[in-house]
């Protein structure tokens, strides 16, 4: 009975620890995917602005639909705030949708790139808008490359570390 309990405890410890490791590894992959979705969204936004001359609120919604995921939710919220008209310009609306206060801005590279773009969105002619969006896409490409490096380096490590740590704890407790 005692052996069975110890065995069950060991399995649970290794399983829980391994799962935590897998979750950390997944967060690296998720960040890479999210950055890819933002790049798709901004590329679509550039098309809407340069070729469609679509109003910014509608352009944000369409860009979000094209990418899906987190950008879709954030851009839809920013568009909603923008169209209400009392929440400031595109920069303020995007910051509010990203859920970042002024003090937290710049915490992550991609948020910084998006907020810098937000300050210019809709405020100039189509050619200038394309240049600003191109710059933001460039910055996000850099973030994505770094995220891909980190993911390829750390994913496998974290996947193994969880189980190894669980195993070590189990041995120590036994």
């Amino acid at each position: 009975m005692t052996v069975a309990l110890r065995l069950a405890g060991a399995v649970l410890t290794v399983g829980a620890s391994g799962l935590l490791g897998l979750m950390v590894a997944e967060s690296y992959r998720a960040r890479e995917r999210e950055l890819a979705a933002w790049i798709t969204a901004l590329t679509s936004l550039q098309t809407e602005i340069s070729f469609g001359h679509t109003r910014l609120g509608q352009a944000m919604r369409r860009a979000g639909s094209a990418s899906g995921g987190t950008p879709a939710r954030i851009l839809a919220r920013a568009a909603e705030l923008l169209e209400q008209g009392d929440s400031g310009g595109a920069g303020e609306c995007l910051a509010a949708a990203l859920g970042l206060g002024r003090a937290e801005r710049g915490r992550r590279d991609e948020a910084d790139a998006l907020l810098a773009l937000g300050q210019r969105l809709g405020a100039s002619d189509a050619a200038d808008q394309a240049r600003h969006i191109g710059l933001a896409v460039g910055r996000l490409e850099g973030c994505r490359a770094r995220a891909a490096d980190a993911a390829s380096r750390d994913c496998r490590v974290w996947s193994s570390i969880g189980f190894l740590l669980g195993g070590m704890i189990t041995i120590a407790l036994l």
Partner: protein
């Protein structure tokens, strides 16, 4: 985003006004609010309202509303819907049309490309011109729009200075021609009698002021037989309209460019009547503008309706037969007084 003010026209304008200006308009006496013609914002200066009675400063809590930088930025953002890139052509032309056909004039520093104005930057003044459709305002001039036997629509040029009701009159003439006599409306329900005499009216609405199309649907009442080409240069639009929609009458606003005269002549050659407006005080003044002189010399117009304000806003000063030079109306008359206008739309 804004309190409803029971005036559907102001409800259309309010989303494009900064909050303090909205408040100040709401604080105006009811009579001033209902006769509001323009709201003028100037960067760093006091906001003003122009009513039929004259100009007045907009006040919020007793103090004049000064357009601070924040207020100005908000106004530009609201008028352009944070989409300056989508309004390059409009900014180059100096106006943006809002839903409902209201026009916001914008001026600042012109950005030139050779001789051409490519756009504007450093905007400094805005003029919100409030469009109120006056149903029935053309009743008293309609007899002069037809030939003596009442069968043919004459080529009519409506002349006046700015803000004296040219477009309002033109819109109602279009509505009455399109509807025909007796039919009440085309919006929603079918007209009372589809076979009733009416004319196919082609509206070339370069500035989106006559029909005020939104998503392809005219926001103003124009009758059942009106077709609208929206945002198209007049000369091109007139030709497209004639070739594609076979109108009986072409309606267009503010002729005066060199190529307009050719298009108007082509229309008359095709047997299509033209009713248009132009900035001029009277036919003699119009003759000083080369394009209009050219059009008049080619016989593009039969009659001129001259608007002024000798009896108040909405006065028809003269109706002139351009062939004979004879005045057809004995004296100036009000287009409509008080209740005669049938009120504003919606």
């Amino acid at each position: 985003m804004s309190a409803k003010v029971r005036d559907p026209v102001l409800d259309e304008i309010f989303p494009a006004l900064p909050p303090r200006v909205r408040e100040a308009v709401l604080a105006l006496p009811s009579a001033d609010r209902q006769s509001l013609l323009e709201i003028r914002l100037r960067r760093g200066r006091a906001a003003m309202a122009v009513t039929a009675e004259g100009d007045l400063y907009l006040r919020c809590a007793g103090q004049p509303v000064i357009c601070t930088e924040n207020e100005w930025e908000a106004a530009v953002r609201l008028v352009t819907q944070s989409s300056i890139y989508a309004l390059e052509r409009e900014l180059a032309a100096g106006f943006v049309t809002l839903a409902g056909g209201h026009r916001v004039g914008l001026v600042g520093r012109a950005v030139l490309e050779g001789e051409r104005v490519r756009g504007q930057s450093e905007l400094s003044s805005m003029n919100y011109r409030i469009a109120r459709q006056m149903i029935g305002i053309a009743d008293r001039v309609m007899p002069y729009v037809f030939s003596a036997d009442g069968t043919r629509v004459m080529n009519v040029l409506i002349l006046s200075g700015p803000g004296l009701g040219k477009t309002t009159l033109l819109r109602d003439i279009a509505r009455q021609l399109s509807t025909g006599s007796g039919a009440e409306s085309s919006m929603g329900a079918a007209p009372a009698a589809a076979s009733m005499a009416g004319f196919k009216v082609g509206i070339v609405d370069e500035r989106s002021e006559i029909a005020a199309c939104s998503q392809g649907v005219p926001q103003n009442e124009l009758g059942p037989r009106a077709d609208v080409i929206d945002g198209c240069p007049k000369a091109v639009g007139i030709m497209i309209m004639i070739r594609t929609m076979s109108p009986d009458v072409v309606i267009t606003d503010e002729v005066g460019r060199a190529d307009d005269a050719d298009a108007l002549e082509e229309a008359s050659r095709c047997g299509v009547s033209v009713i248009a407006t132009a900035h001029a005080l009277d036919p003699e003044d119009a003759m000083r503008r080369p394009a209009i002189r050219d059009a008049l010399a080619r016989g593009a117009f039969d009659r001129a309706i001259v608007l002024g304000r000798s009896l108040g806003l909405g006065t028809c000063e003269r109706i002139v037969d351009l062939r004979s030079g004879r005045d057809l109306a004995a004296r100036p008359f009000r287009l409509a007084s008080g209740g005669e206008t049938g009120g504003v739309r919606r």
